[in-house]
């Protein structure tokens, strides 16, 4: 996927600004088998692009960066992550490309959202001498927006 725009979800802060001490946006099952990229997160800005400024006016919330594998250097099957239950006697470390979890602390950005609903936009950007570009590398299983009292 290139740019991800979530469905409208409930603002867990309920539009009550400042009624929490911290807010985390957590992405689960993040793929890191492809190129490195920075995933820029915007709240209530579904039109965000690679050139969108990282500022309050753009409702920029933060980013996570995937330090990617950039392809598979092994033979066929080398980069296939085993699925299903694992033998309890298998003491080997997890597969190299087991998806990761990324947490973006969005406390300040969420405090500025007074709407009762929010959308999450994630723009995967890769730098380059010829300019920043959106890459087709963003893959994750789900996300959660959490606030803490």
């Amino acid at each position: 996927m290139q740019i991800f725009v979530s469905p409208v979800i409930e603002n867990p802060a309920g539009g009550e600004q400042g009624d929490f001490s911290r807010a985390d946006l957590i992405f689960y099952g993040v793929d890191h088998s492809g190129p490195s990229f920075e995933a820029r997160v915007f709240l209530n800005n579904p039109d965000a692009k690679a050139g969108t400024p990282r500022d309050d006016a753009s409702r920029y919330a933060g980013s996570f960066t995937v330090f990617g594998h950039a392809g598979c250097a092994g033979d066929v099957g080398h980069c296939d992550v085993p699925m299903g239950p694992r033998d309890p006697f298998d003491r080997r470390p997890p597969h190299a490309l087991t998806p990761q979890t990324k947490t973006v602390i969005v406390t300040d950005a969420l405090r500025k959202i007074s709407d009762p609903e929010v959308t999450i936009t994630v723009v995967p950007v890769r730098p380059g001498a010829e300019g920043a570009e959106v890459v087709d590398a963003l893959r994750f299983e789900r996300f959660s927006l959490l606030t803490y009292g």
């Binding site: 960066t65 092994g74 890769r126 300019g131 570009e133």
Partner: protein, 301 residues
Amino acid sequence: MPPRVTMLGSALRWRGYEHDDAAPPSMSTGAVSPQQPSVPLRYRLNVDSMSAAQLTAFRAAMTSAMGISDERGYNYQAGIHGLPLPISCDIAHGHSIFLPWHRAYLYFFELTLRDQQPDVALPWWDWSTDPAIPVAYDEQRVNGAANPLYSAKVDPVALEQGARGKDPRAPMTLREPDSDGAPPLPSNSDIEEVLALGSFEDFTHQLENLHNNVHMWVGGNKGHMGDIQFAAFDPIFWAHHAMIDRVWRLWQLRHPQAGVPATLLNEALPPFKMTVAQTIESATLGYEYAAQATGGTGTGG
């Protein structure tokens, strides 16, 4: 007058300690633990604060290691992180052992350099206050010779495997610092924010993300630092990771009661014959990060 040693404290910057000798000064290091021999620690320094003699010795060690093709050499050490296969850092990135694994990695690499120059210690690049490639790493040639901190030859086997995986790279490391679209280098306030986090899991996760940003800032699109498979071949990798290791050390001083979760302590850190527990105290590995250091001779007893 007894020796005065001022350790890291809350300071994030090296504050102007200057000396002309390659070796750091002798000084007391506090109570001797069963694991810590009663010998002076070595001090990792901000690369911008190294004396000319220290920088010369460090460059000499890098050059010598780069000339060795077996497991005592630079390419072997760099290849542990990524290619040639297996990519050993895979067990570390995105996991809670990110910091211990890389502390062990730096430790063994530093020993590799010390086999060439007995008194060298890894320098750190404080990108939070020096948001550019340090001069020591940015000069193509020094005194008429190639600067080993500017670029390094990449293991041909790694290049071949990378090309097979559709990730061809140049045979000598290169950088594309601050390319359009690169994430910004971490600022002082970014570091202060992660240092304020009270949970190790929270801290390591956020610090790893800042670490990822530096890799992308240096590597850009075609540079080796931006790619897990080749990053450690770039000589600046080690100064970047020494800074990350230093931030962990600063966090440890600020949160002495927090620490690494007990469930992680017995985790092995392959390929290094070391557990997480054995990486917790940098002093037991023979080094510290000093903000200031002064010393003097003892009673001679």
